[in-house]
């Protein structure tokens, strides 16, 4: 009998073919109660991944297409005067869903981008002076186009930091693409998908993530890595404490997905690119190098003992 997490991955994999590592990472991100940023070119399956995850996990789902004229109220909701009851009635926005897909988040203005901040960090929103709790679990999947495309507002570092992981899907391999071409339209598959997990089970899994053990040796290794990123002159700034916490948490979720109750260095290494890729920046001579290579460089420079 397969563990439930593998069932989820398999179910998503039937729609989004040949992307198992990314699916696992996305699931790990969800289990670690983080939010996910998917950065890739249009048409790579970003939205499909979000859709499929929502369907397989049985979560409320809503999608917001971010455009340059989108306003915060369009996401958070608005109070409308009801003539019958002669009262203002609050119409909750799409943010009051368990899974929010913020499509093309970097097409909107920073003002609207930052409206998501409180929601993502505190799992609550304050509208018209009233603080409202968001549903549990609350999971934001944002997609963005590479920033060099026209009509984009690059997310500031502070906002990037709110996303636990950043993934890019990349082109599928030949076999997966052939399967995609010869099979049914994924959209129609999506309709037939049934949830493979109860909400209570999902919450339980999230609980379990926090109980995954991280030994002293592992924390040593983690600290050596973050210390290296802070002292090495090649990095403009190192991993923040929030970054190292996110890293450890992601590694715990990854270990759980692997069916272990303890974290090993490989877990840290597996999630490193997704967790750190958008948090590190090279200085001077390394300025142009993408985050993934910086992470590789970092992992290579520190031994596990």
């Amino acid at each position: 009998m397969k563990p439930v997490t593998d069932k989820i991955v398999d179910a998503v994999g039937q729609v989004l073919m040949g992307k198992e590592p990314q699916i696992r990472l996305a699931l790990a991100c969800l289990l670690a109660r983080g939010h996910l940023l998917i950065e890739d070119l249009p048409g790579m399956g970003k939205t499909t991944l979000a859709h499929t995850l929502a369907a397989v996990l049985g979560l409320d789902f809503s999608r917001v297409q971010f455009t340059s004229d989108l306003l915060p109220a369009d996401i958070l909701g608005v109070s409308v005067y009801n003539r019958d009851s002669e009262q203002f009635r609050f119409h909750p926005g799409p943010v009051f869903n368990q899974l929010l897909l913020a499509d093309e988040i970097n097409r909107t203005t920073p003002k609207t981008q930052s409206a998501l901040l409180e929601a993502m960090a505190e799992q609550q929103v304050t509208i018209e002076g009233e603080t409202r709790e968001l549903p549990t679990p609350f999971f934001v999947i944002a997609t963005q186009n590479p920033t060099h495309q026209s009509g984009t507002f690059p997310l500031p570092e502070s906002q990037l930091d709110r996303f636990l992981m950043r993934l890019s899907l990349g082109y599928p391999d030949q076999a997966a693409e052939r399967k995609l071409l010869s099979g049914l339209n994924p959209r129609s598959l999506l309709k037939d998908l049934q949830p493979v997990i109860e909400l209570s089970e999902l919450l339980q899994l999230q609980q379990q993530v926090e109980q995954v053990k991280a030994s002293a040796s592992l924390l040593d290794y983690l600290q050596r890595l973050t210390g290296q990123s802070r002292s090495e002159p090649g990095f403009e700034f190192g991993v923040s404490p929030r970054g190292s916490l996110a890293w450890l948490h992601s590694a715990r979720a990854w270990a759980l997905l692997e069916g272990r109750d303890y974290v090993i260095p490989e877990d840290l290494q597996q999630v490193a690119e997704a967790v750190l890729g958008h948090r590190l920046r090279g200085s001077n001579e390394l300025a142009g190098i993408p985050g993934s290579q910086l992470v590789e460089k970092l992992l290579d420079s520190v031994d596990i003992v």
Partner: protein
């Protein structure tokens, strides 16, 4: 942005200031024309700096160079020696200003300036000069920081000076350590003698010499007695050059003679080990041995002064056959030496060597006939030598008077003094007394030096030029050489009270010696000030300049005798230590990270065993990934005990990350089984 190689402007201004300050400090040693030339130089560079003038052309520079050379030939007639070389260096540094375009030129010039700044200390080592030299170093350092300051750098134009001051303050502890630790070794090369006029007792004596010195208030030397109590004034005869030869007018020293009974000079005072120094054994000293230290002002002459029967253990101090001390080198800077003395002494009492006897009885033929005749007459009238001496002294006491302004004397100076003027200064009395003795057949010689001293309230003695004195020594059987001071017979107060009080109420006050507070010693406040300043100078020369001769440096105490080689080794070792410490400090982070638990050490040894077998673990590779790779590469089929290694890796993961210590034993076992 300024190019890297260009000279920053603030650095240039500070460099100009520094060079001007150094030139002012050295101005006493430089000819006047070079100062004028340097001034023109500075103004020119300043105009270039302001963008008003242009740099001089090649021919102008050649002309300046040739003119300086010619000027030096005219001024010095030579190119060696301290002053010509100083002039050469200072003028070359000045001219460099006119062709300084690049930063590297400025840096070169800064180092030359450090050197010329310190040159000042070769001429004088007073506090004032030391402070001024430090000021020059401050300016040069400011120039150096200014040169390295980026042209667009923030901060006022004073910031190089501030930084330079901070750097000098920071280097103070190092300076103190070096001062205390490093021994003062003799220089590789001797500093060529300076061509400075010097006052003081010369090696000759003719009428009028000492009366001129009598009006000079300059300091000759200072004396500190070890027990703090100097002997009474009438015993303070500081013996200097002994004048044996008389040509009728001028007394001069005997040429040094090495004879059968030993060399003329014995160096280092310690003579017992040297062979053949027989004359040394004929000195008898008795009573309590006491010591004193003498700090002599520069005289440019090699002789030293000391109380009778001296003995010094300083290596560069020698004792001559005439019982006086000499130095190996002319005294060009303040000279410290320590001497022992005995209250009772007797030397050469047994006999006078015949050649020496001849020397001390010699009188020139044809001079002073009247004196010769009278001497012979008196000698026949008296029975013993003592009686003869007494007879002469009595005569001096009755008919003669002591004065700072004696009348001039002609050819037969002794005759004229004794039978006509009968007024004179110490040299007249000493000269005619010795002449009388020799004419009467008693061996005698003139001793020059200083007599008496001023007592400083701080306990040391000051001997001034006006303390210069000449007296006589006669040789008597069984007594040896005995001091006879004819001046004491004429004017006993001069000896007992000291020269300054003797002359202060009667005759002309001190009129020479430049600007000197000693001229105003009758004003109490100024006299206090003079004594305070003198104390400052005394402690400066004792504790700073004379540190090495006062006591051995710390290094000598730790290491015994030191040489340039041991110093070099020590500096090398210190440098290595310092660099090592810095390296250790820099590497401390990685060293700490290298600390391992026994578990990790065993894991590493397992990894290195696997590496030897041909399956090294990659840097940063975790145990699980390693194991999977080894499995994929079929380790178990290729290496015996490969299973143990794989098992050990699994167990290591369990123990180290799974926090399951119960597997520790198993891991140890498996890891050791793999070979």
């Amino acid at each position: 942005m300024t190019p890297q190689w260009q000279m920053p402007r603030s650095g240039l201004v500070w460099l100009l200031c520094a060079q001007a300050a150094i030139a002012v400090g050295l101005s006493a040693a430089l000819p006047v024309w070079i100062l004028l030339l340097l001034t023109v130089n500075f103004l020119w560079r300043l105009q270039v700096h302001r963008g008003l003038w242009r740099y001089p052309g090649r021919w102008a520079k050649v002309f300046l160079l040739l003119a300086t050379m010619a000027g030096m030939v005219v001024s010095f007639q030579r190119f060696t020696g301290l002053e010509p070389l100083t002039t050469l260096l200072v003028s070359a540094a000045g001219f460099k200003l006119l062709e300084m375009h690049h930063r590297r030129d400025g840096i070169k010039l800064v180092f030359v300036c450090y050197f010329t700044a310190v040159l000042q200390l070769l001429y004088e080592q007073t506090i004032a000069v030391a402070v001024y030299t430090l000021f020059c170093v401050l300016l040069v350092t400011a120039a150096l920081t200014g040169i390295y300051q980026r042209a667009e750098g923030r901060g006022s134009s004073w910031s190089p000076l501030q930084r330079s001051g901070a750097m000098l303050l920071q280097s103070l502890p190092l300076m103190l350590v070096l001062f205390l630790v490093l021994p003062r070794l003799p220089a590789f090369w001797g500093v060529p003698g300076q061509q400075q006029a010097s006052t003081g007792v010369s090696g000759e004596m003719s009428p009028g010499d000492f009366s001129r010195l009598g009006k000079n208030g300059d300091l000759a030397f200072r004396v500190a007695f070890d027990d703090g109590t100097p002997p009474p004034a009438q015993l303070l005869y500081w013996r200097g050059p002994i004048l044996t030869h008389f040509d009728g007018r001028r007394w001069s020293q005997m040429d040094p003679v090495n004879f059968r009974d030993g060399a003329h000079v014995i160096w280092g005072g310690n003579t017992s080990t040297q062979r053949g120094q027989h004359w040394q054994e004929r000195i008898e000293k008795s009573g309590q041995r006491r010591g004193y230290t003498l700090i002599m002002e520069p005289t440019q002459r090699p002789w030293l002064f000391a109380l009778p029967a001296p003995e010094s253990t300083d290596l560069d101090v020698g004792l001559t056959r005439e019982m006086r001390l000499v130095s190996e080198q002319p005294i060009s800077t303040k000279k410290h030496y320590s001497v022992s003395w005995w209250p009772q002494y007797r030397y050469f009492a047994d006999t006078l060597v015949p050649w020496q006897r001849r020397k001390v009885l010699e009188i020139p033929v044809g001079y002073n006939p009247k004196t010769r005749q009278r001497a012979r007459q008196w000698r026949t009238e008296t029975v013993t030598e003592e009686a003869y001496i007494q007879r002469v002294l009595q005569w001096f006491n009755q008919d003669f008077s002591y004065t700072l302004e004696p009348p001039l004397l002609g050819t037969h100076s002794v005759d004229e003094f004794l039978w006509q003027s009968q007024r004179g200064f110490c040299e007249h009395f000493a000269s005619s007394f010795v002449f009388l003795m020799r004419a009467g057949g008693v061996p005698a010689r003139v001793v020059t030096g200083y007599q008496g001293a001023e007592r400083h309230p701080d306990g040391y003695l000051l001997v001034h030029q006006y303390n210069a004195h000449a007296w006589a020594e006669v040789w008597m059987p069984a007594k040896g050489w005995v001091r006879v001071d004819p001046t004491a017979a004429v004017a006993p107060e001069r000896i007992e009270q000291g020269a300054e009080s003797f002359f202060s109420n009667s005759q002309s006050a001190l009129t020479e010696g430049g600007f000197s507070l000693s001229r105003f010693r009758h004003i109490d406040l100024l006299n206090q000030l003079r004594l305070q300043l003198d104390a400052l100078d005394y402690y400066w020369s004792t504790w700073v300049l004379g540190y090495q001769s006062q006591q051995k440096s710390l290094l000598q105490r730790w290491l015994g005798e030191v040489s340039w080689r041991s110093i070099g080794l020590l500096l090398l070792a210190t440098g290595a230590l310092v660099i090592g410490a810095v390296l250790l400090w820099l590497l401390r982070g990685s060293l700490q990270a290298r600390r391992r638990t026994p578990l990790q050490r065993l894991f590493e040894s397992l990894c290195s065993k696997l590496a030897k077998a041909g399956w090294p673990r990659h840097h940063g590779e975790g145990p699980r990934a390693y194991r999977q790779r080894l499995q994929a590469e079929r380790l178990t089929e290729k290496v015996a005990n490969g299973n143990n290694a794989l098992m050990a890796l699994t167990l290591y993961e369990q123990v180290c990350y799974g926090e399951q210590p119960q597997y520790t034993e198993a891991f140890y076992r498996e890891a050791k089984r793999f070979r």
